[in-house]
């Protein structure tokens, strides 16, 4: 497997506070990377870097060998813990939104046949995340789990190069959470996704991922704790899961041509 996303000697500093230091990472295509670590170890900062929400202070981030623009774009999908769906649109139009942005730059809306085609795509995506019956429901009327399903559908309809999950299941009940684990695993296989997930839940990290990264500070100065940043202190490839995946991957057809 080749590296799709690479971080080379990446540092993030806010003033004299160093959050991340010397992060060197290669994320392979179709891997599922969990990022764990104590609070304040820069997990979310790392995700924001991958998302392009902020730029590294030093170092380079490369996506497919090209420098990543420090701005969010449609090649990277994201699901946050909360607030990642639009409250003023029902489920179907939440999913349609991404298609409308690409296909109707001026009006932001599709009409006629293009709209029907878009809605069909949106409905198919909603069915894939198990929201087929909730097409006309507004987010405010949905449970937390349904909202996260919707947020995933919204991101996947754009067929992102990499899907970033920021504690996506942190606010859900344990039962719902295991349903969501099954859903994300299935989608990851069926859509040939590359996923980076930040989580607090070590069990979740190991259950889902093919690779677990632990961020923490290598050194600690008790008089100036902010002067040392975190980096990847453990990087475990879960060979068992990788092997299991490649066994299933050869037995199913994967639609990877459509991914952008």
């Amino acid at each position: 497997m080749t590296a799709m996303l690479s971080l080379r000697n990446v540092w993030v500093e806010y003033g004299d506070k160093i959050v991340l230091e010397r992060v060197d990472l290669d994320i392979a295509e179709r891997s599922f990377v969990s990022i764990v670590g104590p609070s304040g170890a820069g997990k979310s900062t790392l995700l924001r870097l991958l998302l392009g929400q902020e730029a590294p202070t030093r170092g380079h981030i490369l996506l497919d060998g090209k420098a990543l623009k420090p701005e969010c774009g449609p090649d990277r999908g994201v699901v946050f813990q909360r607030y990642s769906v639009f409250p003023h649109l029902d489920a179907r139009h939440n999913v349609l939104f991404g298609l409308e942005c690409a296909r109707a730059p001026l009006t932001g809306r599709l009409f006629g046949g293009a709209r029907r085609a878009g809605l069909a795509e949106a409905d198919a995506m909603l069915a894939a995340v198990g929201l087929a019956d909730s097409r006309h429901v507004y987010p405010a009327q949905m449970s937390g789990g349904m909202q996260q399903r919707l947020a995933i559908a919204q991101a996947l309809v754009k067929r992102p190069r990499i899907l970033l999950l920021d504690e996506p299941f942190g606010a859900l009940d344990p039962g719902i959470r295991s349903d969501m684990h099954m859903l994300i695993t299935r989608l990851w296989r069926e859509h040939a996704l590359t996923i980076a997930m930040v989580t607090h839940d070590i069990g979740e990290a190991f259950a889902l991922a093919t690779r677990v990264l632990t961020l923490d500070k290598r050194r600690h100065d008790p008089h100036a704790p902010h002067r040392y940043g975190a980096t990847a202190v453990y990087d475990l490839t879960l060979d068992r899961r990788v092997a299991a995946e490649s066994a299933t991957a050869s037995s199913i057809t994967i639609d990877e041509i459509d991914n952008n």
Binding site: L51, Q53, E71, C72, G73, P74, R76, G77, V78, F80, R82, Y83, S84, V85, F86, P87, H88, L89, D90, F97, G98, E100, C101, A102, P105, L106, T107, G108, R109, Y138, A140, Q141, M142, A151, Q154, A155, K158, P160
Partner: protein, 270 residues
């Protein structure tokens, strides 16, 4: 049962709500009757009969000078000014508030200006408006706009600015440009808030309208009230005030209806 747990049903709520108003009317009638029993020529608390007689002249009989039914020409003149002022304010507040709230560079440039204008008491600007626009309609409409627009802009801008960052990031990962963010994410979510802002601005808008009409006008509800004050004509002032209250309530109810109809998503709760 504790008092805080007693929830009146719809019918009881209507009855309860009407009771103090009826009590107010009843108190007035008793006070008016007792004053008239003492002095039949009393002008301070006119009887309903006197009010009806006075209003009949204004509502039904054309004025010999102008040939118009004064009550209606007053009403239309005032509503015209108010409507124009509100319309200009609403449209500008939406456009400016949206851009200020969404684009940090614009907020940094024009935010302080809007804040500065907002703290100037509008009535203090009235002489400037009269000098600049003359004593005609433009000055009165301008007073309403200057009076309510800055606060509306700040309200909309603050609301748009308070949209969760996650939502805007998400929209960008879905490919939205700045224009699409404004059009599809910020604008629809600002609309219910805009209607709310108009509802809250109705009160001040009426204040500025009546002030402008009291100072320089020849027609309008505020003008009439201040004109007949010279003759102590409470039998005209009181019905006019009641009419203004009624108009204000109707506008508020209409705006609430529009918000519930047009933006149902903003009114649903889980």
């Amino acid at each position: 049962m504790r008092l805080v747990n007693i929830r009146p049903n719809r019918r009881t709520a209507v009855l309860l709500g009407a009771a103090p108003l009826l009590l107010l009317v009843l108190t007035y009638l008793i006070a008016s009757a007792s004053r008239h029993a003492f002095n039949p020529a009393d002008k301070i608390l006119p009887t309903p009969g006197a009010m009806i007689a006075a209003m009949r002249l204004l509502v039904l009989v054309p004025d010999p000078m102008t040939g118009e039914r004064l009550f209606w020409s007053d009403t239309f003149a005032s509503l015209g000014r108010l409507g124009l002022g509100l319309a200009i304010s609403t449209v500008s507040a939406l456009l400016v508030g949206l851009v200020l709230g969404l684009v940090p560079a614009v907020r940094a440039t024009f935010g302080p200006t809007v804040t500065t204008i907002a703290v100037i008491p509008p009535i203090a600007l009235l002489p400037i408006l009269f000098i600049a626009f003359g004593l005609g309609e433009a000055a009165k409409v301008a007073l309403i706009v200057i009076g309510i627009l800055p606060l509306m802009i700040r309200d909309i801008a603050a609301h748009v600015e308070a949209l969760p960052a996650e939502q805007l990031i998400k929209a960008q990962t879905l490919g939205a440009s700045t224009w699409q963010l404004a059009l599809r994410v910020a604008l629809p979510q600002a609309m219910p808030r805009l209607i709310q802002a108009v509802r809250l601005s109705l009160g001040p808008a009426w204040v500025f309208l009546i002030s402008a009409e009291a100072i320089a006008s020849d027609v309008g509800l505020g003008y009439r009230i201040f004109l007949v004050r010279r003759y102590l004509s409470m039998e005209i002032i009181l019905p006019y005030v009641a009419w203004i209250a009624l108009l204000a309530i109707a506008m508020d109810a209409a705006l609430r209806f529009i918000s519930r109809r047009g933006f149902a998503w903003a009114h649903v709760s889980r």
